[in-house]
Amino acid sequence: MGTSVPQVRTATRRRTILSRMKRERFCYLLILPSFIATAVFCYWPMYGLLLAFKDLKLRQGILGSPWVGLKWFELMFQDPTFLQAIRNTLIISFGKLIYGTFACILLALLLNELRSGIYKKVCQTLLYLPHFLSWVIMASIIYNIFTMSGGLFTKVVTNLFQREPIQILANPAYFRTLVYISDIWKGVGFGTIVYLAAIAGIDPELYEAGIIDGASRLQRVLFITIPCIKGTIIILLILSMGGVMNAGFDQILNLYSPNTIEVGDIIDTYVYRRGVQGQQYSYSTAVGLFKNAVNVLLLMTVNYFAKLIGEQGLY
């Protein structure tokens, strides 16, 4: 053994902060790589937010570029494409939220009624798979199905139903529906996990009491299961509200096309087109900042309401 006094934690109160820091110096070493990585790739870009109020001249860098105050923000709200993007973002977000939550809960309830066994496990395995594949893969499969030249959907419509082929891809009329359905296809299986866990947490005695009282299976689901997971449903809904400004950048970027910009363009894709492709750096930074700010406000509001109804919040 080393010194005669073992390093007992209870004596920390008497030690100064500096000596504690010295003792835990290895921990600081451990934190250092992450600290630096986060500083470079998360905080440095935050400094770049200044661009939202400047007009970036690349040669002069961020500091040297002239200030323009709120010019970009004024411009933003005069751009009909941007306003359209806000509209689409909100519509698509809420649509996915409502349809998706409904589908997940319904599927979770049905899965719960299945007897445990191999069949159930196999089905769940199949249902979870799309969650692990990228949207590039999912979109490619969607193209394969809906393509006008030989796609499965097209063949079914023309051969089985004897009708004219219907164009789904690049068709503004069906775009949002495509987004909702593909989102459910990809996410419903995995989404049931949280609800299944909540259902599994319900006290079996409640069900027994229900059976004794003569409740049918349907009544047990309606009056025991659903009320018991009500808390989970609400908290998940509320937390999802915090992400309403992100309507699924990955998905939309892979599914949309020039024809469907009108109905499908969301704020993130707008920023991408203007910023990365169009190289309007300052302007799109401003748009991004606007979205971020709204996001933060939403999250704080959402967190407040979550705590208000007695659930643990985000932070």
């Binding site: 902060i17 986060t38 059976i211 299976r217």
Partner: protein, 300 residues
């Protein structure tokens, strides 16, 4: 308890319905796989292709002979392996370093990381940092190290470390071990399930990643597989070197009328090639993720 007729009917329908749903979920994948294995006449005439009448591997011969599948595979593998190592290194070190409650400034650091989950500079400043300041355009590093700490995984692992009994580390310290030894000899072996879970999720994430390549990579032959797939199927008009190569190859091999090699089959074969690694890994994912999701999502 006696089951009523209604219940039995419901059970039957439920079993069938969920089975149908599972099949519908998988069938598009199957359809793509079938597309890759048939000749064009079969593809255009048969509505439902459950099994090819005639197996045709031309699409696969073709794409494996191209430069871009080979390069895509190489790039994706490099990025996945090194990216996962890098990411896990960050997550494990930060999670362990901040799991001990006796570290001064602990809350400051945790908040420092958590803030990045909710607020950031947005796409454009991030893009500018990587391309203009770090000058990582067309560099594979831009796919591996750009991103900071994965705070979500960090929190999960930190909580996991917190659950381990403190006495373990304490008794080791009393025995004279320093932090290094504690971390490697005691904590890590105990945390293998959690770390394995995060490692798998991380690897899948890197394999599926394509947006960074979209922003930062210009050279067709430095694209990961996901970008290659995107260029072939979703965004064919913007591919330059690759598309030109494909068109000439079609003409050379095909004369434009070959039944064995056609566009949809090539696209489908690419999808199959890109998806297969994930499917191979999927059983292992399955084994871990039910527990993994529990660690993370259920609070309190």
């Amino acid at each position: 308890m006696k089951r009523s007729i209604g219940e039995t009917v419901f059970d039957l329908f439920n079993v069938l319905f969920i089975g149908l749903l599972s099949i519908i979920t998988i069938f598009p994948f199957w359809n793509v796989a079938m597309t890759s294995f048939v000749k064009s006449n079969e593809f255009y005439t048969r509505t439902f292709i459950l099994w090819p009448r005639e197996f045709n591997f031309s699409a696969y011969y073709y794409i494996f002979s191209t430069r871009w599948i080979a390069s895509g595979f190489k790039v994706s593998t490099i990025v996945t392996v090194f990216g996962t190592i890098y990411n896990m290194f960050l997550v494990v070190t930060a999670a362990y370093g901040l799991s001990k409650k006796t570290v001064p400034g602990r809350n400051f650091f945790i908040t420092y990381f958590i803030i990045t989950m909710y607020f950031g500079g947005g796409l454009i400043p991030y893009y500018l940092v990587v391309t203009k300041y770090l000058k990582l355009t067309d560099n594979l590093l831009s796919l591996i190290i750009t991103g900071g700490l994965s705070v979500y995984y960090f929190l999960i692992l930190k909580n996991f470390f917190n659950e381990l009994p403190v006495s373990l580390a304490e008794s080791a310290t009393i025995d004279g071990a320093n932090e290094f030894v504690i971390l490697f000899r005691i904590i890590l072996p105990l945390s293998m399930p959690a770390i394995a879970t995060l490692l798998l999720f991380n690897a899948v994430g890197y394999w599926n990643e394509w947006q960074k390549a979209l922003y930062f990579i210009v050279d067709d032959y430095k694209f990961p597989l996901q970008m290659i797939l995107r260029k072939i199927v979703i965004d064919p008009n913007s591919a330059t070197a690759m598309r030109a190569e494909m068109n000439t190859a079609y003409q050379n091999l095909v004369g434009g009328t070959d039944e064995t090699l056609f566009d949809e089959a090539v696209k489908a074969a690419t999808v199959v090639v890109v998806t297969t690694p994930i499917i191979l890994v999927y059983p292992f994912l399955q084994k871990y993720f039910a527990k993994g999701v529990m660690i993370g999502s259920i609070k309190g």
